[in-house]
């Protein structure tokens, strides 16, 4: 068996070591275009989890690597003249050059051939060819792996500094052109990695697009002089870059297999690239051992083993990249909430898991949120708006669709406001007119199925909702307005706390808002005038249920939805109930746990209006995290029936009965 590994980064070298250990008889050669001591980037970061895997895979290098590690368990967040710390995060880092040195040395001991300064133009002839040659992999270009490369996140540049940070540090700096942020961590006793990042618009406005390497270094040095304590930044081909997110449909082809950045990248802001790469090496070597060098079987095992984990990490990394892209919208948050939002940005840390790592931090957050030194978690904090006091953030009880009139019903079973009564306290009265989604059958067997003997439906434009739907007539705005006003009067008389106007999901008011369903130019005209009219006579909380995006290429985008939310706020709306889609029947929804949370975050922090959000949230932990991080003010939970007890089987009972007898 002869093996050619292209790329002498951590993944390639580590795989070479593991394969040689697996079978001393195999020929392993590593080909690298650069010199042995050339290294780009400064330090690389690991989490504790990886270390165990490295110890099991090769105790010798594990010992050497961990000996030179810089370790810390703290994240510092420097923001608006304050520094906040969170503990319990277990990081370690090493100079990339030192890591490669250790791995190269071990390769040589084991008899791996290392060749530097070799450009690999053609795929090497070998039994097994490994592409470990990074994000710009040449190996990948020789075969069809179904590679996709997209840019994600902001502009960034990678420096070193001789200021030794004593924690993973996120620093934020406001400038006249916008917000910059830095990611910094120590990697040995002399040096730290220092990455500077900003959105492309800020980058251009600051003139960085026209600066050379030295000018941009000086710019960053001055910007973060406070964090660097007067120390220098060092460049190592430090140019501003866009981060490429790389995915591949398949990780292998014939006798060629990819690993590390060549097959998947994860945005640097979660610091997982090297970890993913070395874990790939471990998994591939383990699969080859298990399958006794049956390459195709081993490659399948390797990919099946790694792909789900890599996918989750890439998802978290993309969330994190997007977070730093819209960082400016969080600059109104108080430092503690800003920090909690930052820590929970990728979905990997929640209120509960942070509470285990760093109980002090969650206690401080809860105390700040609850306004008392000892406070329950954020979801249990009371919420006051326009004189309405809610005891917590998850207990508002939605009424379900209540129609303003008989013709405004969705199904014959839809309650009508005239006869509707609140079921108890803290009701969210969801008032709507079904528009073109009306006159359908009861929802048990399906929705949007037209009644055989229904009633005429109305909308701003004569387009049916979905196949076999009824073509709507023109809505009588004056009549609809009167119906909503009468309904609001009744709600006031019933003592309802929160009145919600349904402008979501393609019901009548929602269909005014979308270019897919309304041909008018001023699509906000009727919904806003109606909102204003209701506001005149409704004293308590007035909410609007809004599809923030139509999830359709020709419909409202999230930016459009945020603009609409802003307009609604200006016209008297107190609370946006965040929804998405259903404006048309053939939208392209994105369903998963918490699928509306990111939208709520954007509406709340960009339009600066309180929000309530559902979207299949099933746990109080999700509620605590969302509310604590300022992604919503109120949540609607979908708590499933929980069954943890079951009857003891009767045979056991009989047995016990017999013993008793």
């Amino acid at each position: 068996m002869n093996i050619e590994i292209v790329g002498a980064g951590p993944a390639g070298l580590y795989l070479a070591i593991l394969l040689k250990k697996l079978d001393r008889g195999v020929d392993v050669r590593v080909l690298e275009r650069n010199a042995p001591d050339a290294t780009f980037g400064f330090g690389v970061v690991f989490s504790e989890e990886t270390l165990g895997a490295l110890r099991d895979a090769d105790p010798e290098t594990h010992l050497e690597i961990t000996d030179t590690f810089a370790r810390w368990d703290r994240i510092d967040i420097r923001y608006r003249g304050r520094e906040l710390s969170s503990r319990g995060h277990s990081f370690s880092a090493i100079a990339r050059g030192r890591l490669l040195e250790i791995l190269q040395q071990r390769c040589r001991e084991l008899g791996v051939t290392l060749e530097f300064g070799v450009e690999v133009e053609e795929l090497p002839e070998a039994d097994l060819v490994v592409g470990a040659d990074g994000a710009n992999s040449l190996v990948r270009r020789h075969r069809d792996f179904g590679t996709k490369v997209r840019t994600e996140g902001s502009k960034y540049v990678w420096f070193g500094t001789d200021h030794v940070f004593d924690a993973f540090t996120f620093a934020f700096r406001e400038t006249e052109h916008g917000l910059f942020n830095a990611h910094a961590y120590p990697y040995d006793e002399r040096m730290s990695t220092f990455i500077v990042e900003c959105p492309e618009t800020v980058w251009r406005a600051s003139g960085l697009d026209e600066m050379d390497e030295q000018e941009s270094l000086t710019f960053c040095e001055q910007l973060f002089a406070n964090e660097l304590r007067g120390r220098e930044l060092f460049s190592n081909r430090s140019l501003w870059l866009d981060f490429p997110k790389i995915t591949n449909q398949t990780w292998h082809d014939g006798n060629v297999v990819l690993l590390g950045d060549a097959v998947h990248t994860a945005h640097f802001s979660i610091g997982s690239g090297t970890k993913l790469a070395m874990d790939d090496s471990i998994a591939l070597a383990a699969a080859l051992a298990r399958r006794r060098w049956d390459l195709s079987a081993a490659f399948v095992d390797y990919e099946l083993d790694r792909a789900p984990y890599v996918e989750r990490t890439q998802e978290a990394a993309s969330e994190s990249a997007a977070y730093f892209g819209r960082i400016a919208s969080y600059s109104h948050l108080e430092p503690i909430q800003f920090s909690f939002n930052l820590l929970t940005r990728s979905g990997r840390i929640t209120h509960a898991t942070l509470g285990v790592r760093d109980p002090q931090f969650t206690r401080a957050l809860d105390a700040w949120f609850g306004g008392r030194p000892v406070s329950p978690p954020p979801a249990f904090a009371p919420f006051a708006l326009r004189g309405v006091e809610l005891p917590n953030r998850f207990g508002l009880v939605p009424s379900g669709f209540v129609a303003v009139s008989e013709e405004g019903r969705v199904t014959p079973e839809t309650p009508v406001i005239e006869t509707w009564e609140p079921s108890g306290e803290h009701v969210l009265l969801q008032l709507g007119h079904a528009g073109r989604r009306g006159a359908t059958r009861p929802r048990e067997a399906g929705i949007d199925l037209l009644l055989a003997d229904g009633w005429p439906v109305v909308a701003p434009a004569p387009k049916a909702y979905g196949p076999f739907g009824a073509v709507p007539g023109r809505s009588d705005e004056k009549e609809v307005r009167e119906q909503f006003l009468a309904a609001a009067r009744r709600a006031a008389a019933l003592g309802v706390d929160v009145l919600e106007l349904d402008m979501a999901h393609g019901y009548l008011l929602g269909s005014y808002l979308s270019p897919l369903t309304n041909d008018e130019d001023d699509r906000l005209r009727f919904p806003l005038s109606l909102l204003e009219a209701v506001r005149q006579l409704w004293p308590r909380v007035l909410a609007v249920r809004l599809s923030v995006t139509d999830w359709h290429p020709r419909g409202n985008t999230v930016d459009d939805g945020i603009a609409i939310a802003r307009a609604l706020a200006e016209h008297g709306c107190d609370l946006i109930h965040v929804e998405a889609g259903q404006t048309v029947h053939d939208d392209r929804p994105e369903y998963r746990r918490g699928f509306l949370t990111a939208l709520s975050d954007r509406v709340r922090n960009e339009a600066r209006i309180p929000t309530i959000v559902g979207g299949y949230l099933t746990t109080l932990d999700e509620a605590n995290t969302i509310v604590g991080a300022g992604r919503a003010d109120l949540v609607l939970l979908d708590v499933p029936e929980t069954q943890i007890e079951r009857p003891i089987r009767s045979s056991n009972t009989v047995l016990l009965g017999e013993v008793g007898a």
Partner: protein
């Protein structure tokens, strides 16, 4: 599958009906040595009395809407109301070519078919009655989940490890809740097994799913070739909330049913 005779298929259904199983299911493909799903289930309807008869899945858009409704309603009627109609858009262009049907627009057509069948459109003209046909929808796009929650009773998953099923189940529940359906969707999973001749099973899967390119490797690797693998999958799916798990044989041999029964005992 190749080598499966009509006699074997009916015998399989008959024995499943007599055994501890709750459903018998068929796949759908045109350009392959396989039986047509509705014809097969009609045969199975006559050979059985208790067990549910399911398409897992049938490619809806290969058929005209009214004809699909009529076929499904006929099997439902012939079986005394035992049909579970799993539908999806299908993946192989050659099946569409062979059937003389446009591959493009298949998603939209499936939506129409579901609305037609579930909405009882033309129901008084195109009988027999479609009342009580349990409908499942498969597919992994957001639109597939929306179609499922809009028109169907549950979701038909396309196989894989329990964690893949669990992710699909969460998506199904999210869609169900988003579209305001009461209760919960039925969640159907599927797997492949070969408890006698594993190599033959693998060869069949490589052939049947060859069109998926390198993905076929993953499907073949998921074939359950031991009693333990079967039991682990069943347990994993159960924990992930699976209501009905369909295990497809990959070797045309009636003894496979016995082996499966033993593995599950």
């Amino acid at each position: 599958m190749p080598g499966a005779t009509g006699e074997l298929l009916l015998d399989w259904a008959r024995r499943a009906d007599a055994g501890p199983f709750s459903s018998v299911a068929v796949l759908d493909r045109v350009v392959y040595d396989s039986y047509e799903p509705f014809a097969t289930l009609a045969g199975a309807a006559a050979a059985t009395s208790r067990i549910r008869l399911a398409t897992m899945i049938a490619i809806g858009p290969l058929r005209s809407t009214a004809l699909l409704a009529k076929q499904a309603a006929s099997v439902h009627g012939l079986s005394g109301g035992r049909l579970t109609l799993g539908l999806a858009v299908g993946a192989r262009t050659e099946d569409f070519d062979a059937a003389g049907v446009e591959h493009k627009g298949r998603g939209k057509r499936l939506g129409e078919q579901l609305a037609y069948i579930r909405g009882n459109v033309d129901g008084d003209r195109v009988g027999p009655s479609r009342d009580g046909i349990e409908i499942l929808v498969g597919g992994s796009s957001g639109q597939a989940y929306a179609r499922m929650a809009r028109y169907a009773d549950g979701y038909a998953h396309n196989g894989g490890p329990p964690r893949a099923f669990a992710a699909a189940a969460a998506r199904s529940l999210a869609a169900w809740s988003d579209l305001g359906r009461p209760g919960k969707p039925q969640l159907w999973g599927q797997g492949y097994f070969a408890l006698g001749d594993a190599a033959r099973g693998e060869a069949y899967l490589r052939d049947y799913y060859g069109f998926t390119g390198p993905f076929v490797e993953k499907i073949a690797a998921g074939n359950l070739t031991s009693a333990r693998a079967v039991r682990d999958l069943v347990r994993g799916y159960e924990e992930a909330g699976c209501d009905e798990l369909v295990l497809f044989p990959t070797v045309a041999d009636i003894d496979e049913l016995e082996r499966l029964q033993e593995a599950l005992a």
